[in-house]
């Protein structure tokens, strides 16, 4: 992974000192709440229901065992012994005190971490493919470009006060695991017919109040031009994005109002002036960063481990786990393992400090000391020997991290919701838990197959409900919490938005609603057809009919 040099480190240290001073001035009354708010937000600090919430950046979801131990320590020292991994590959602490935050940031800086621009109306943490570097369908490793863009975005003087937040995701594979179609900018690293590397550029996607699938504004951008082109997009947005209404301030609204072709013309015209700028990226810089992502020292293995095969045949529990939580690795004899943070009874994405310490030890032992965070809120060991899988599974089971449910109904994406978040209209974690409890039969879950349930506690859509096969949105009706259900959404390269099936439901009805949706699916699916495909084929009517027939 990328390691800071003295320059990177100095910037982060200076930012800590700057924020310490800003916090001090706020606490002594020198800075008003209004003046301090944007400053603290640009450093990841929200004031939430119970306490400040600090969001720490995990750039493109890659974290070392040493960093994870620091997160564990921060959870223990300043919080209540846990952290929450988010749908943007970050980690949040829900219970620090404001006065402690500068010290937390100083601790983070000792392990090359920070909270810079994890909130606020600026360029947020860059997200990426959590299987980068190990997936068989990868064309170009996106991590060097993620890091390049991270550096470009960090403390960018021109773009600190944008109309609204700005999220960039990058992938280099044919399967989109980074949700590039629903980001302000999505970049797909591609190689053209001449063998040159560059990017397909997608702009104006996003979820939230107005969900939109992004538009391709350029099929091929030479990689040397990436920062010039980002400057051009951001400048057009900064100058012309709406600032009169925060619900219409994201770039997707600008793209929609101008229309994608006109917006593209503006960007290209701006880029025309910037093509020769000093920000043109030399090959040497890409190579310097890429060296940080050189493959770890893999052993030369056959890829067909007899003991592994035997264990698969003998042990059904192990077999289920491999089937759901283990992904093929491009190097023979290795495997990619997902640690499920979706055990029933635990808020999705939460890990205790003790778990984080244990995961760090396992990462050192089994996966070259590195852990990934996925936007589905799970953790990943990217480089595990096939022959070690059974031993690792046993240890993960003891830690409660081996629930064999990746991609299944109980692998629910869920925002913190009304339990923690002051924006929420409704709670989301108890809904996730009620559904998980209702569907606790593993055989049934495996029979249902791939099924994404995504839950958001408000229309800001942190739980990505629009792209859930089943999406749940918490709404407020006269002060009561209700839940609107949509079906047919998907993430990835065929991203689509779900359709609302009808009037919303009370919390206690939700497990039944899901059960009734599944009744229709099970009765009418074709062999090997996923829920979402059946839902698309049939449309919402039969589902709607069955669900509401029961309710009324």
């Amino acid at each position: 992974m990328y390691r800071y040099d003295a320059f990177d480190q100095r910037l982060v240290d200076e930012r800590v000192a700057q924020f310490r001073d800003q916090t001090h001035r706020f606490l002594t009354g020198e800075l008003s709440e209004d003046d301090f708010r944007p400053l603290r937000l640009q450093n990841g600090l929200y004031i939430q229901k119970h306490a400040p919430m600090l969001r720490v950046a995990i750039p493109y979801g890659v974290v070392s065992s040493e960093q994870l131990r620091m997160l564990a320590r921060i959870g223990r020292t300043y919080d209540r012994g846990y952290g929450h991994f988010t749908t943007r590959q970050n980690v949040q602490f829900n219970w620090p005190t404001l006065a402690d935050v500068p010290d937390i940031l100083a601790d983070l800086a000792t392990v090359q971490m920070h909270a810079i621009q994890t909130s606020g109306n600026c360029v947020r943490n860059i997200t990426g493919d959590h299987f980068a570097g190990v997936a068989g369908d990868e064309v170009i490793d996106p991590r060097p470009y993620c890091e390049l863009v991270r550096q470009w975005s960090a403390l960018h003087p021109e773009f600190a006060y944008l109309p609204r937040k700005f999220k960039i995701a990058i992938t280099g594979a044919t399967t989109d695991r980074a949700a590039i179609l629903v980001h302000d900018i999505g970049l797909q690293a591609v190689r053209n017919d001449s063998g040159d590397d560059g990017f397909r550029v997608i702009v104006g996607g996003g979820l939230g109040r107005t969900p939109v699938i992004g538009h391709v504004i350029r099929e091929f951008l030479p990689r040397a031009q990436i920062l010039n082109y980002l400057d051009a997009i951001l400048r057009v947005y900064n100058r012309f994005g709406r600032r009169d209404n925060k619900y219409k301030a994201r770039i997707k609204i600008l793209v929609k109002e101008q229309t994608p072709p006109i917006f593209t013309t503006h960007v290209e015209a701006e880029w025309e002036h910037l093509k020769e700028s000093a920000a043109t990226v030399p090959d040497a810089e890409v190579e310097r960063i890429a060296a940080s992502f050189a493959p770890p020292p893999y052993a030369s293995l056959s890829g067909d481990d007899a003991d592994f095969r035997a264990a698969l045949a003998d042990n059904r529990g192990f077999g289920n786990w491999v089937k759901r939580n283990v992904f093929p690795h491009k190097v023979p004899g290795y495997a990619v393992v997902t640690l499920s943070l979706k055990k029933t009874g635990v808020p999705p994405g939460d890990a205790t400090s003790d778990q984080m310490d244990a995961i760090a030890d396992l990462a050192d032992h089994y996966s070259f000391g590195e852990v990934r965070v996925s936007h589905e809120q799970n953790l990943i060991f990217a480089d595990v020997r096939q022959s070690a899988l059974q031993a690792l599974w046993t240890k993960l089971k003891d830690l409660g991290l081996a629930t064999p449910n990746i991609g299944l109904l109980t692998d629910i994406i869920c925002c913190p919701g009304g339990d923690f978040c002051s924006l929420a209209n409704a709670k989301s974690i108890p809904i996730a838990e009620a559904i998980q409890r209702r569907f606790d039969d593993l055989d049934y879950l495996h029979d249902l197959g791939e099924l994404d349930i995504n839950i958001s506690g408000c229309m800001n859509a942190c739980g990505h409900h629009h792209v859930g096969h089943i999406g749940v949105l918490g709404v407020d009706k006269n002060g009561e919490e209700w839940y609107q259900v949509s079906i047919g959404g998907t993430q990835g390269e065929h991203a689509a938005l779900g359709k609302v099936i009808g009037p919303s439901f009370a919390a206690h009805e939700m497990p039944d609603v899901v059960a009734r949706l599944l009744d229709v699916y099970v009765a009418r699916r074709f062999a090997d057809e996923r829920f979402v495909d059946t839902a698309r084929r049939l449309g919402i009517e039969p589902f709607k009919e069955h669900v509401y027939a029961a309710a009324h």
Partner: protein, 176 residues
């Protein structure tokens, strides 16, 4: 008179900011004035003949409008009605980098110390601080971040300077 930081020092400023102007009668004879863009465009020839007149821009004013007149303007001010409106940063970069404006670029309005560094890197070299703010503290804030990754009006991108071993020292204005 508001405090003005220019090129890294606190100075006494002679320019009078005229927020509203509709005719020459709104101006005091001979007084150096900074007038709204709309008025400049309306009374351009007279103002050039008068001398001692400069322009301030609103966040949504297009700097291209003023590009032909840059040689008449020793000062251009850019207004920040609230500091969270970041359009002026792009306006400043365009004036400096696209239109090669060499005169004083002044940030006016809701201008506070915590924005000074980014303003300076976007091309501003003068800051009319919000009334009551501590100018000395604001000056010191220019050194809070010693360097940065991006190409700005004041520096090339870090990846071009890796081999350079001279120590960074925050914002250094070309004229200072």
């Amino acid at each position: 008179m508001p405090q003005l930081i220019k090129q890294g020092t606190v100075i006494v400023d002679c320019w009078v900011l005229v927020r509203e102007a509709e005719s020459l009668a709104d101006l005091v004879d001979g007084e150096p004035v900074i007038v709204p863009l709309a008025f400049w465009l309306q009374a351009r020839a007279v103002l050039i003949a008068r001398g001692n007149a400069c322009v301030w821009l609103r966040p949504d004013d297009d700097p291209a409008t003023i590009a032909p007149d840059l040689r008449f303007l020793p000062v251009i001010a850019i207004d920040f009605p609230v500091f969270t409106d970041g359009r002026g940063y792009s306006t400043a970069r365009l004036l400096r980098e696209r239109y090669a404006y060499q005169g004083e670029l002044r940030a006016i309005g809701d201008v506070q110390r915590d924005q000074l560094q980014y303003l300076a890197h976007s091309g501003f070299d003068a800051f009319a601080l919000r009334a009551g703010d501590d100018a000395q503290a604001a000056l010191e804030s220019l050194r809070e971040l010693s360097d940065g990754y991006q190409a700005t009006g004041l520096r090339t991108p870090w990846f071009q300077r890796r081999a350079d071993t001279s120590p960074p020292d925050g914002v250094r204005f070309p004229g200072a």
